[in-house]
């Protein structure tokens, strides 16, 4: 019981140990250091851009986007070339008098 009371007293004393705390101050010439940091930040804008692009999430997203665009382009191209295969240009055949002779045409016998 005594021990519990002691602990409670310690806890209470610790909780009020921040009373009367004085504001801490940074070291001297703080503004000079801030200015130097600001100048450095302004000079490094291209480094910041490239480090932003190099971030894994950004880089992976950009690569995935490029791959997706390539896939769409390939699929579109395939679709377009299939379209040409299914619908041959009839005017080509007429102009060059091209007849599509099949094997079976030669087998047709006159009645």
């Amino acid at each position: 019981m005594n021990n519990k009371n002691n602990i409670q007293n310690e806890v209470e004393a610790t909780l009020i140990s921040l009373n009367g705390i004085v504001t801490a101050t940074p070291g001297p010439y703080f503004f000079t250091r801030v200015q130097a940091r600001l100048t450095k930040a302004e000079k490094n804008i291209w480094e910041r851009v490239s480090s932003f692009i190099a971030r894994p999430a950004i880089a992976i997203t950009m690569v995935s986007f490029v791959l997706l665009m390539n896939t769409i382009a390939v699929l579109e191209h395939k679709k377009t070339s299939n379209l040409f295969m299914d619908q041959p240009d009839q005017s080509f055949y007429d102009e060059f008098n091209v007849a599509v002779n099949t094997f079976y045409d030669y087998e047709i016998k006159e009645p």
Partner: protein, 190 residues
């Protein structure tokens, strides 16, 4: 110089105005950050970042709140980002050590002694800061703003963009958590 004129000049990237802003608010920013990161070198570093951020993004300050409220928000955000970054590095170093990579011994940082605490309270305050460090993020922020920055509940609610009742609840839970941590500490200490 009136605050509004100062901010207007700062938006025009006037160096003298920026110097005035830094000199006026550097102690407030440093003290807030120090209470959260609990390391003077890191606090100095983060405080510099805060003012660089202020300079770069002052045009986004619309005057809907006080300038000091806006400053507190930036300071807290930067301080919390710093802590999260440090924790991530620690976790990554731990994972590396599991794989036998770079077996660097990780030292626990020494007790934090706030320079603004009187000598007779220094040891107790160090224990309290250890307990504060274990609080969940929002409770830690609210406790720091109220106890170390001496902001009222209303001012804390404006900085944290929370309702007054939420701030009261946060501080109540923070106090209970601190009591629990301190009880455990003093039981084991004996």
């Amino acid at each position: 110089m009136s605050e509004w004129i100062l901010i207007k000049q700062l938006k025009q990237k006037d160096e003298a105005a920026f110097k005035t802003v830094v000199e006026t608010w550097q102690d407030m920013v440093f003290n807030t950050v120090l209470g959260i990161v609990q390391n003077p070198e890191d606090a100095e570093d983060v405080s510099q970042e805060v003012f660089v951020q202020v300079y770069e993004s002052v045009n986004s300050f619309k005057g809907e709140s006080k300038f000091s409220t806006w400053l507190y928000r930036i300071a807290i955000t930067k301080a919390m980002d710093h802590i999260r970054k440090k924790k991530r590095k620690k976790r990554f170093a731990f994972v590396q050590s599991l794989f036998g990579v770079d077996n660097e011994v990780l030292h626990d940082p020494p007790d934090f002694h706030h320079p603004g605490i009187s000598l007779d309270n220094k040891e107790r305050a160090a224990v309290l800061f250890m307990a504060i460090d274990k609080l969940p993020e929002n409770q830690k922020i609210a406790f720091n703003l109220h106890k170390i920055e001496a902001l009222s509940y209303q001012e804390v609610s404006m900085v944290m963009k929370l309702s007054l009742s939420s701030v009261e609840s946060l501080l109540h839970r923070a106090k209970n958590n601190l009591k629990q941590t301190l009880e455990d500490y003093y039981q084991n200490y004996d």
